[in-house]
Symmetry: C2
Subunit: 451 residues, 2 copies
């Protein structure tokens, strides 16, 4: 079964190689920018500029924005100055900034040379904000209205300036020096009486962020408040830009990937996996593997310390992996639940005792179930002596309880002291739990088996 993109790729390549350019042009114009960009990834460096030139001007810019940085660079190298200017002029400022950030220096200077002075100024301003801040992801192309405009006058103003704005769905009322006074949706303007003043129909209680706000917080605010756009202000409440919902969605996707990577002990990277070099991937994975390996040697130390006891009762060794794994799994379940709850703000630090209480009950339920199943298995299938079975099952119960408490508390504690709770996920919890489970195991063995 071929997917949609594969079919598109084949059609484009077939038409291009048969030099049926008129048909290809018509075909391309029926497609979506995102699908076009995805299928262009299969084109050779020779075919790509040829096919790209067949796109209508506005669509070309939209497709360009969706493409991989590598392909963008290939295209720009082949562009004449006139072609480059045409594409750059059609870009929104925030997309132009993304492009400038990702291209090599010699390409950047060509891009800035082709941008008109006004755009160049806006690009340079946005480039000055710290990475991953609201300022760095906002666009400066928004609609500003004044409080004393009527709805009809406001709509006329939007008609005059709207073409260059990234969105007209949400407009902002500003006063002297662009100080933010209110927000008004195009819906309110259109449904209002034509003579109504913006002052009276706007929402004066605007939620805004400052330019230095973290982009993740910005994206989460969209999830919580269902905004279409969020205004970005400077220290004096002057409106300097907006973040739109589609950008928020992209940020949320990137931040989710980052969270998942951190939870799997990978230093996050910005690039898609397939276009990252193995050496680059190694750099993102090896620090955590090394750190966790060093931690795991402590587990080895615990075993070494009880080597003599193990030698007298070798049957105990066989249950070490099961105890360690179950503890690790039980702890991961709790830590991931709590980390996600913290990130969605469903759980806050003040809930720590409720969380601990809940995990205590859950862990006793889980631990008892597992211990009971295991007891039957040990006695009936493995036919070990009752004291050994007792030691294994008691350890299992206690390991699950300890693991779940540790798994729930560590991320909350990390958040409290300002660390990133996501690094307290499975791999780190597993290592901590390994040591604890072995200590419990040998303690139980020394009590009940008199080792």
């Amino acid at each position: 079964m071929k997917d949609k993109i594969t079919l598109l790729e084949e059609t484009i390549i077939k038409l291009a190689e048969a030099k049926k350019y008129a048909s290809l042009r018509d075909f391309l114009a029926t497609l979506n920018p995102a699908d076009l960009a995805e299928s262009f990834a299969a084109l050779s460096d020779q075919l790509l500029p040829l096919v790209f030139r067949l796109l209508p001007k506005a669509l070309a810019a939209e497709v360009f924005v969706e493409m991989d940085p590598e392909q963008q660079a290939t295209l720009i190298r082949g562009f004449s100055d006139v072609e480059l200017k045409a594409v750059v002029e059609e870009l929104y400022v925030d997309d132009a900034v993304d492009l400038v950030e990702e291209m090599p220096a010699n390409v950047v200077s060509r891009i800035l040379l082709q941008a008109d002075p006004e755009t160049r100024k806006m690009i340079n301003e946005i480039l000055q904000y710290p990475e991953d801040s609201a300022g760095s992801v906002m666009t400066t192309e928004f609609v500003e209205l004044r409080a004393d405009m009527t709805a009809a006058r406001a709509i006329a103003h939007i008609r005059a300036v709207g073409l260059d704005k990234e969105t007209i769905n949400t407009c902002y009322i500003t006063g002297k020096s662009h100080v933010l006074q209110g927000v008004i949706s195009i819906r309110t303007l259109i449904l209002a009486d034509e003579k109504a003043l913006c002052r009276d129909i706007m929402n004066p209680h605007v939620v805004s962020v400052t330019t230095r706000e973290d982009q993740e917080t910005v994206a989460q605010m969209f999830g919580k408040y269902n905004f279409g756009a969020l205004p970005v202000v400077d220290g004096d409440n002057r409106l300097v830009g907006i973040v739109t919902m589609d950008d928020a969605l992209d940020i949320l996707e990137a931040e989710t990937t980052e969270d998942m990577e951190k939870m799997a002990a990978i230093s996050p990277s910005d690039r898609p996996y397939l276009s990252t070099s193995p050496f680059e991937i190694w750099k993102h994975r090896i620090p955590w593997l090394l750190l966790l390996m060093v931690s795991a040697t402590f587990t080895g130390l615990v075993i070494t310390r009880f080597e003599d006891a193990l030698a007298t009762c070798t049957v105990l060794v066989a249950y070490i992996p099961m105890l360690m794994d179950t503890g690790g799994n039980a702890g991961s379940q709790s830590s991931v639940t709590v980390i996600r709850g913290l990130s969605l703000q469903e759980i806050r630090f003040r809930d720590i005792f409720r969380v601990m209480g809940k995990e205590a009950v859950v862990s006793i339920l889980c631990g008892a179930t597992l211990a009971a199943c295991n007891l039957v298995k040990l006695l009936v299938l493995d036919r070990v002596s009752f004291p050994v079975a007792l030691v294994v099952c008691l350890t299992l119960l206690m390991t699950v309880v300890v693991s779940k408490l540790v798994g729930a508390v560590l991320p909350m504690a990390a958040k409290r002291v300002g660390f990133d709770p996501t690094v307290m996920a499975s791999p780190l919890i597993t290592t901590v739990v390994d040591i604890l489970s072995l200590l419990i195991y040998f303690q139980a063995a020394s009590i009940f088996l008199k080792l």
Copy 2:
């Protein structure tokens, strides 16, 4: 440091208890629905209805939508029929459907009784679509235009019907029997010449989904295409509803939580952690713990099989946890990277050989680094014999290579045969890798140590 919500809660409770209702009403009107709903969670069942009644009518409905089902039920039980009708009338159909799905049966019948017949009909239609389908999350309140309308006529139509529509930012052009013909944004309509026909300015290449499409696919399409809304059609391409971007964002958030839960071996649940009972949590966690415990006993079997060898060379036991953990971590890194790539459609099945090649190189780099560090540690710190150090380091290298390949290939294979790749994450990979690493370990030991 108190957070914003805690401050809001305290102010609301203080004003309510001092019976300063006029001031409280003014204060509430300045706040956002989402913040209000969150701070209402701290109110007692006595205070809640009292404070809720102080909200302006439109805001009240918006706050109501954002509240926990428990609190919604408390409020509805206290509502008179007139009050309930007022809230239900202000709800959009998709929110009303959510409410009906979450309330107990006796509350549902009261809600449906208070809804007007038209709304009741729409609610019942949406309720018939399968859970998590596009049909079940869409709203039926959208703006429909005709191709022969001028831009001015279309805007006049929107002014007439827009108040009851969930969005007017994206409108749809339909023909006979509501067959979908095109899409047009309010921006295009406003910026167009007043006499331009919708036919000429609409986008006829509409991306739509059918009512049965999975909601996760729908949400991912928003991420890819940057739509403001997505039309939902029936089998005959008749427009029956739309999904808006704010709903897509909610779906994406829920699906991400579900993915993270599955990756941590938890059966996904719909409810926030703090309002789920311990028994319910136990039910979602115990099946996986049991299954993984059973798998882990196979690891124990491997150890039992080599018990005699271990007894002659007990030093080998001390390195078992380090080898198992490192293998598990290395495998998780690869599996999570691939799972996320699959979910973002950055990796497709046809890339399997590229992925394997990349993981082979990365795993040799990682394995060699870890083995080298370990060799120094084993010889200098632990002072083990060279053959033992060799066995441990060779096993480490091979375990990392095998783990990363297994971690990368299993999720892709799962996806290929129609399984959910997310369950192939850390816990399952860890169990598989445990067994493989031990088999390698004992094989290496038997070769180099002649056990």
